[in-house]
Symmetry: C2
Subunit: 497 residues, 2 copies
């Protein structure tokens, strides 16, 4: 891009965007990433470094002079990679995997390349409009009612995390309630979830000023497969109303983090609607499966809820961060989060003819995230995306079969999607505490070996191992190998008794 | 949009991460971005599309079958680019520019490539530890006291936006206060800013449940260069205390968005500290300048505040999104935002030996944003970063000189950094309303021509044009050309009278 003007001498040699250097180094970085993906199985899946490992390898302060790109890239290899837990390893079965694809990578490169700051329509019309279009596309794929679409009176937005989606809808429900009961009564507002709801609901309540003692964590049970019972919801709400409190918000979950429990959306909405309670459905993980007809029933009743969130970065190949939120009445959100400082005033906004996404989220600035979703939909097509979901479910089914074939193990809750919750039960002669210790030990040994990574949870008081299939590179043989490792580790453990 | 290509494999072969295809298409995308940067001056800086332009060009639903990469890339050129407002154009002088660099682009590619989800240390040790290290590096560059560093008892985190930084510190201050005055008293809490504070403070208050009537917008004046006066702060706080309210939080700004006013940090902290008020300094834009010794005095007194935020994506070449927040007592934030669901429990966290950044932010998931800052510091070194800041300031100074040399214009407030606030004054014979109309018209004509983009504000009741130098590619000749265009447009306008 030419050299710097001669009359600013110190900068003669400084051009942070030399385009031929940019091209060359970006190619090298692409190659670096390809090599990383090729070699990813050679690294321990769960990083084996000790806390504080990086500080000892880096200087105390930023350098005063430039360092060569090759030196920095070498440090990525030698200093960063050993400290990575490799989420994209095909042997990563922890948490929920974060899925990726070439298409999303390219979309993200362009998003970075444009570096548009789409706080309002004018600042980046394409970014805003493409986001609205892809949100409608995904809504159609999920067979959401049109009331969630821009083509009707609703609409969608891409947030960074489900937490933000929950927080924004929660404050909308809070202020709707406070309008009628006087804004000093925030201490009377009550929020509902189950003991399986993601802890981000509690966090959102804390941020929004809902008193911790007014967040109802309704117990679930093994008989209900840890789904929230609408009867229990009704009883809880009625007791609160009786006590003079004001119920405002329910977070129902389709595919809980612990065990993939599915709350009965329609039944819960029927109860909540009777009390004017905002119903949000958190389908962060399992929502993606609902693009397949055979899974769509899990969100039956969705037409009676107020909002739905789903994170394509979890299961729709988009890389982080991409959390979709649809709402029926965007006005309830923009009334709270809307703002119109003088320096952003502009005609399209004043004519009310556009969406200004800054009014749908916590912050002002926002990246062009929609490109990734658009690239994924177009590059692969719906049929491939459906088969991708089915393939993961099939592999989980296969793993479930392995577990069932070994009498020392049990499936703790029925598998619904691509997460298998299981544990070593051994025989009746062992105390429950000892069984838990065995399972903890099994998990530690498996993970510290670095060949695979899975995580745990506790459901209904029982310590459970979680095996989540979904890393983009995972194939059947990775699942079999993982099972063999688990089995052999169990053999060893039992043998040591 | 293209027929089903013959080379798309059968569904059973669906591989969304074919590495040779990945490499080839990523190279193509790099080339696309280089071409975009090369040609960027040929596009209107402010997009000239009309609301709704994109929906007419795209199908109603996602395609069922894959489309070729080349087709999609062609649509980026023909459908997306016309709808972009080109933030990276050297003729972009609007808002605050968003700065970029090769180094940050490469760091971001790696961040995407790894796709780690660093909610806690264990899930991505390198991501957490590098973030802590670069936050300490930047703190040292800014000569912050060690009380803001991990090497002492404080620490820093990278958020997506300043809004999140303000929200997180606000809820920390809120809950600290509620601990002593009973948590039902949220309606008594008062927050302070000036009429120049970014409107995100009001938004954060709304989210956090602070009553709108308890957010004090203290007036500023032209005599004080629109800085918040510590005398007015004291009077306002004293009146609130007198009225039985509880002051909790002050947002002071170093470099306001409208005019780059600088609130007197030390004086304000002295007042606020006397009332136990949390002092946050929002230095989103101008904080970056404080890496140069000659600007450092603007944050003098910083050792007496509780938190500081600064967005390197605005002026430190990092691409979006990168907003740094330092706090002296992280425990006050993690007490509110901390959470420890069973499925994330792990030994390093239990031993309290690590930072779990999910407890420092709204969401759980987080990207490896520190890579960008690390790449920028190492690739360029501090001396070049300082020169980069100085060069922008010098170009703004040059523009200021142009304005001063034309008697029809005036500088409305003294320039402090690289933002020039000016307006056409014409002569005394014109009414103020007419002068405003002239300025509005001038802005419209300049922006709708597409050759440059600047924005406006209103300060002290006066409509003002904002010319913000800082786009990475801007050179002196762009500034001169922009001035000539402004002058010629003014000539035309005046001639039409």
């Amino acid at each position: 891009m030419g050299s710097f003007p001669a009359n600013i001498p110190e900068l003669k040699d400084f051009n942070p965007l030399d385009l031929e250097e940019f091209r060359k180094q970006a190619y090298q970085t692409v190659d670096f990433i390809v090599d990383y993906y090729k070699n990813i199985e050679s690294y321990p899946v769960l990083s084996q470094v000790k806390p504080g490992y990086i500080r000892t390898q880096l200087p105390e302060s930023a350098p005063n002079k430039p360092e060569p790109f090759e030196t920095i890239l070498k440090d990525v290899q030698n200093v960063i990679i050993p400290g990575m837990t490799h989420w994209l390893s095909p042997n990563f079965f922890a948490y929920f995997p974060a899925t990726v694809s070439s298409a999303a990578f390219l979309g993200e490169m362009l998003c970075t390349g444009f570096n548009s700051v789409g706080f309002n329509w004018l600042a980046s019309p394409a970014s805003t409009e493409l986001e609205s279009v892809v949100m409608d596309w995904l809504a159609r794929l999920l067979k959401l009612p049109t009331s969630f679409m821009f083509s009707d009176t609703g609409g969608g937005v891409i947030h960074g995390t489900t937490s933000e989606a929950i927080l924004c809808t929660l404050v909308a429900s809070r202020d709707r309630a406070l309008e009628t009961i006087c804004d000093e009564n925030i201490a009377k507002l009550v929020v509902y979830g189950s003991d399986q709801t993601h802890s981000t609901l509690v966090k959102a309540c804390k941020i929004a000023g809902i008193l911790p003692r007014n967040v109802r964590v309704i117990p679930t049970s093994k008989e209900d497969n840890f789904a929230l019972s609408s009867t229990n919801l009704r009883t809880t709400i009625e007791a609160d109303v009786e006590a003079g409190l004001t119920p405002i918000y329910l977070c129902a979950t389709v595919g809980t983090t612990s065990s993939n429990a599915v709350d009965p959306v329609g039944q819960l909405a029927d109860v909540a609607n009777g009390f004017g309670v905002w119903v949000h459905v958190d389908a962060a993980y399992a929502g993606s499966a609902c693009i397949c007809p055979e899974f769509r029933h899990f969100i039956d009743g969705i037409e009676r809820v107020d909002s739905l969130s789903l994170s394509p970065h979890k299961w729709l190949l988009t890389y982080l961060d991409c959390s979709c939120l649809w709402v029926k009445q965007p006005i309830l959100i923009t009334k709270v989060l809307g703002c119109n400082p003088e320096f952003l005033k502009n005609k399209p906004t004043e004519l009310n003819s556009v969406v200004d996404y800054k009014d749908w989220q916590v912050g002002y600035g926002r990246r062009f995230r929609a490109l990734r979703l658009w690239f994924v939909f177009r590059s692969y097509g719906v049929a491939n995306l459906q088969s991708h979901i089915r393939s993961d479910v099939r592999m989980a089914e296969m793993f479930e079969g392995f577990v069932k074939s070994d009498p020392r193990f049990e499936i703790v809750v029925p598998r619904q999607f691509a997460l298998v919750c299981f544990r070593l039960t051994l025989s009746d002669e062992y105390e429950p505490e000892l069984v838990e210790l065995f399972n903890r030990d099994l998990l530690d040994r498996v993970n510290s070996g670095g060949k695979m990574y899975m995580t745990h949870t506790v459901i209904g008081g029982t310590y459970v191992l979680r095996f989540a299939v979904g890393s983009t590179a995972t194939k059947e043989h990775h699942v079999s190998t993982a099972w063999n490792l688990i089995k052999e580790t169990a053999d060893m453990l039992v043998g040591e008794c």
